[in-house]
């Protein structure tokens, strides 16, 4: 594509595609933006089920804010603090804020582990936290392994400005998408052969998009893997408090208490965007056991400090133990209820999801609705879901899933009525598909060969690793 004169004045970062916003993943969002569902004004609109946002507990937060006017600098009770807060731009952050966040993180892990407030470093949301950690750990051209399916924006967050590449380690449904040591070893070896310097492993636990938590054994084997290779482990635990049923969440911070490990390799990324449903507040946290990373990350936090007003508010809120305990409990219960409502509704029409106990979404299995088990088919089905069923769900390929037919569907950013509407639309759609497939089976028994190219890519995960399959699906 020839750059126009305007663009020629710009940098490579400004003109390349690593921001990922040109991927079809965002087409669904665009469809939603053009025609957003509204229960009264626009009942035929697209329902947003592609955004992992937790809107279930706003009332609790609102109630607390109303009941604690001192925590806000805009109230009569709190305004006397204004001066000290407005002038505060120290990148260490308020001590009270760090203590409160450390307290909250510990409670989210059932009090089984405590966090040191002096290791808490701020950043511009988890987006900024992931980027900061990469800037601290890796040089341009270095690589990080990431188990797939994974959060689509990891590529942007970890690689866009840092120059770090991500190497997917494919997991599939044959073993419920578990990460195996064998897969990790294979990916690591292949990278070594390609002369790529692997600096570490990054993963989300609880997983996005799977909604599962890593079991103790897997965690231990991951920690021993990175120890053995002397590479870093970045654990994005942004959904730590969004676990709503068993098995319970085990954090890497607990594992390193139980086994021999070089702590300089362990880093946790956190945020209040999901667990507390406050993504607009932009609170990202880097928690590293490595002093050099804490030191460097703290200086980098100048590029994404949390507003002192927000720090002050959250410092109060999160040190209110009664509120936090109640919030964690309520949040869990409401998520469990919503999850159950949604999955049961899907089961009624014969749609199963991966068994999950965390996160704000389900990993829906629509493989049997695909014409062929190919990426192209998945894309076709996805466009039908957006345009006809009018639900914005996210196709598995945007999560770099090597198996077509899986979709991530978010359920926590709407009320119960909208959930019912969404389920009804799915029911209608599935029934229509069943009628269609009966007819098609009778009329056309030939296999189509046009998608052989994509079959190849599904067979050889290594070939897929350099490029997003979405790019191929479009060409």
């Amino acid at each position: 594509m020839a750059l126009n004169k305007n663009q020629q004045l710009l940098s490579k970062i400004a003109t390349n595609d690593r921001h990922g916003e040109n991927s079809p993943y965002f087409d669904g969002w665009k469809a939603y933006d053009k025609n957003p569902y509204h229960p009264i004004d626009n009942r035929e609109g697209v329902i947003q089920m592609g955004l992992a946002e937790n809107q279930l507990c706003f009332d609790l937060i609102q109630k607390w804010i109303r009941g604690n006017p001192k925590a806000s600098i805009c109230t009569a009770e709190g305004v006397h603090e204004f001066k000290n807060i407005a002038i505060f731009q120290d990148y260490h952050g308020f001590k009270e804020f760090r203590q409160a966040v450390a307290n909250f993180m510990g409670k989210a892990r059932g009090g089984r582990v405590t966090f040191d407030p002096d290791r808490i470093v701020m950043s511009g949301g988890a987006t900024g936290a992931n980027e900061t950690v990469m800037f601290c750990l890796a040089n341009p051209g270095d690589a990080f392994l990431v188990p797939s399916p994974c959060y689509p924006a990891f590529d942007r967050d970890c690689g866009w400005r840092t120059g770090v590449q991500l190497i997917p380690v494919n997991c599939d449904s044959s073993n419920n998408f578990l990460i195996t040591k064998a897969a990790l070893e294979a990916a690591y070896e292949r990278a070594q052969q390609d002369n790529i310097n692997v600096k570490g492993l990054i993963l989300a636990n609880p997983s996005n998009p799977l909604g599962t938590v890593l079991d103790r054994d897997t965690l231990r084997s991951l920690v021993s893997f990175i120890n053995e290779k002397k590479i870093h482990l970045v654990s994005d635990e942004i959904y730590a408090a969004s676990v709503f049923s068993t098995p319970s969440f085990v954090s890497v911070s607990e594992i390193i208490e139980e086994m021999e490990c070089d702590r300089d390799l362990i880093h946790i990324v956190y945020s209040l965007s999901k667990d507390m449903g406050l993504p607009g507040f932009r609170i990202g946290i880097v928690y590293s056991y490595n002093d050099a990373v804490v030191n460097c990350g703290r200086k980098m936090s100048s590029f994404g400090l949390v507003s002192s007003q927000t720090q002050h508010l959250l410092a109060s809120m999160l040190s209110d133990d009664e509120f936090v305990d109640n919030f964690l409990k309520e949040n869990s219960e409401r998520l469990a209820k919503r999850h159950s409502l949604f999955t049961k509704g899907l089961e009624k029409v014969g749609i199963t999801c991966l068994k999950s106990n965390a996160g704000l979404f389900v990993w829906m299995d629509l493989r049997r609705l695909l014409k062929e088990q190919t990426l192209e088919s998945e894309m076709t089905l996805w466009r039908v879901i957006i345009n006809e069923v009018k639900l914005n769900v996210s196709p598995g390929s945007s999560f770099h899933c090597s198996e077509p037919g899986w979709f991530r569907v978010c359920f926590a950013n709407m009320d119960d009525v909208t959930v019912e509407v969404a389920l009804e639309r799915i029911r209608v759609f599935v029934e229509k598909q069943q009628v269609k497939s009966k007819r098609k089976f009778q009329s056309n028994l030939k296999l189509s060969f046009t998608s052989r190219r994509y079959d190849e890519s599904v067979m050889s995960p290594h070939m897929m690793s350099p490029r997003s399959p979405l790019v191929r699906a479009r060409t």
Binding site: N6, F58, C74, N139, P279, R282, A292, K299, P466, R467
Partner: protein
């Protein structure tokens, strides 16, 4: 996901061949022996050693640590020992080796793992260890190194107490609703806030120009605004020209993670530190000769640390220069509303408004940290006339967005034009009073300041107090001021000033009584210095001067 890096000749040379090593070695050694002994294939005997030598060089090159990201502080490697502080306006020759420990972090992380060596940062650290307080710690270090404005908080507090209903959630007394501020917002700021900021910027700049909210991208402070612009306009290894002296934070904001160089263009006190196009041209050519591509010019207007304004003519000349060389101009106008002199501030935007110029290369940075004294709230602005830059910058704000409750609070405040007008005028008056008091006090000590009319500081010429007219002499004086006078000022070398002896002194965190104390302390230090302090004990001297204790 990305492609694996294509095989380069370097990496191919690295490909180890574990099997057949022995046989290969023999095939190499025998002809070599042949050459040494004067027999055997000359071609093999000479080609192979040459090839080996070539591959050896490639191997070394490959395994040398990558180029430094950049050290955000001065080039010195050692700790805060004064004698090791090197001339900061000379080229840095940093070692960028990775950590020597068993676990490697990135070169960026290891380059700043050492304590901060720049006097700018050392001073700030020292103050936080022993901060002056009129009642609790009267012998503490007085902070004159941080350009913060504490003069007008009473006005904002008053506004807040009268307008709390509107401030955070809901408008016009509507019920509090967290649903408005908790969810995801556009990463480059709420449109309402952009509209409010556009109006604010226009107001602080005397309504000489209006700003279009759709050309704005909001960021969490001016710090990321600068960095984001740099990421958009330059690739690693490219350079920006910057007139000196300049704000020490530019080194971090523009160089650290971007890998971009800052080339100083030295300005002289004879010009009142206004940049000359000749010097700019010279710097541009010299940089090009070194094989470095210049992407733009970075200016601060009003200037930090000098506090003067760039005259209209200079702005025109800069525009011509940029157009001729096809480069960008980034104008940091963060002090535009902190004017106390009688001159009129002219924004780049105003010049562009009047002329039919190619605007695609002009970008303005602004923020609320200085003019509205709200650095904690993290509000920065990128204002650009270039669509592509705006598009790219918007995406980059995902890493540095303004917290939604803060936006809500400020929309109300910043849109209250009557309040803002009162604020600007009162602020101006108070800064001027403090400036006049401080500068007069320095004058009585024989210390002149550069002509200035804006900012929260003055640029003082203390070259009369230094023993050697050199950077070393300047830093010695700085050290004395910090340890004897117990005031933290910013030495010119931290700002890359080519003339030794200049110091930036911020006075807007002081009360009028504090100013008197500061002047007295400087006077004491001056006398102490003049009387060969090396032979005298500091406490003895103090007793002599003041009698008793």
């Amino acid at each position: 996901m990305t492609r694996p890096r294509p095989r380069t000749p370097e990496s191919e040379s690295e490909t180890r061949n574990p099997t057949g090593g022995g046989a290969t070695a023999m095939r190499l050694i025998v002809p070599l022996q042949g050459v040494v002994q004067g027999r055997g294939g000359l071609i093999l005997g000479s080609l192979i050693p040459c090839a080996l030598f070539y591959f050896f060089q490639l191997y070394l090159k490959r395994h040398r640590s990558p180029k430094p990201g950049s050290n955000p502080t001065s080039p010195s490697q050692s700790s805060s020992n004064l004698s090791d502080l090197q001339r900061s306006s000379s080229r840095s020759n940093l070692s960028s080796r990775g950590s020597i420990g068993p676990v490697q972090v990135s070169s960026r992380a290891s380059s700043i793992a050492k304590p901060n060596d720049s006097p700018y940062y050392i001073g700030l650290d020292r103050v936080s260890g022993d901060p002056y307080d009129r009642l609790d710690n009267p012998n503490g270090i007085i902070q004159l190194g941080l350009s913060e404005n504490r003069l007008c908080f009473d006005l904002i507090e008053k506004w807040l107490s009268e307008n709390t209903k509107d401030s955070v959630m809901g408008r016009d007394g509507a019920d509090l609703s967290i649903g408005g501020i908790a969810p995801y917002q556009p990463s480059d700021g709420l449109m309402e806030f952009k509209v409010a900021m556009a109006g604010f910027m226009s107001q602080v700049m005397g309504r000489a120009v209006s700003f279009d909210p759709s050309q704005m991208v909001l960021t969490a402070g001016a710090t990321p605004a600068l960095e984001i612009l740099c990421f958009c306009l330059a690739d690693p290894g490219n350079a920006f020209l910057v007139p000196t002296p300049y704000y020490p934070g530019f080194d971090r904001d523009m160089r650290w993670r971007t890998g971009v160089e800052l080339i100083p263009v030295h300005c002289r006190s004879t010009d009142n530190f206004i940049i000359s196009i000749t010097a700019l041209d010279q710097a541009f050519n010299q940089t090009r000769k070194r094989g470095i591509k210049v992407r733009g010019i970075l200016i601060s207007n009003p200037s930090n640390p000098v506090g003067n304004l760039l005259p209209r003519e200079t702005l025109y000349n800069l525009l011509d220069f940029a157009r001729e060389k096809n480069i960008h101009i980034v104008s940091d106008e963060i002090f535009a509303g902190s004017m106390y002199g009688s001159e009129e501030f002219v924004s780049m935007a105003e010049i562009l408004d009047m002329e039919d110029i190619d605007k695609n290369r002009i970008h303005i940075v602004y923020g609320l940290s200085k003019d509205l004294a709200l650095p904690g709230f993290r509000v920065g602005v990128i204002y650009s006339f270039n669509e592509s830059v705006l598009v790219a910058a918007k995406k980059l704000t995902r890493f540095s967005s303004i917290s939604a409750p803060t936006q809500r609070l400020l929309i109300s405040m910043v849109s209250d034009t009557r309040f803002i007008q009162e604020y600007i005028e009162t602020n101006k008056k108070r800064i001027r009073e403090m400036h006049d008091l401080f500068v007069e006090g320095l004058k009585q000590l024989g210390i002149k300041c550069a002509q200035s009319c804006a900012g929260l500081y003055c640029w003082a010429d203390m070259s009369g107090l230094i023993s050697f007219y050199s950077e070393k002499g300047e830093l010695e004086l700085w050290d004395k001021l910090l340890n004897i006078a117990k005031i933290n000022v910013t030495p010119g070398s931290a700002c890359h000033c080519i003339e030794p002896g200049w110091f930036r002194c911020c006075f807007t965190t002081l009360s009028q009584e504090d100013v008197v104390i500061v002047i007295e302390r400087i006077r004491f230090c001056k006398l102490f210095t003049a009387s060969s302090p090396r032979n005298k004990n500091y406490n003895d001297f103090k007793r002599e001067l003041y009698g008793g204790n």
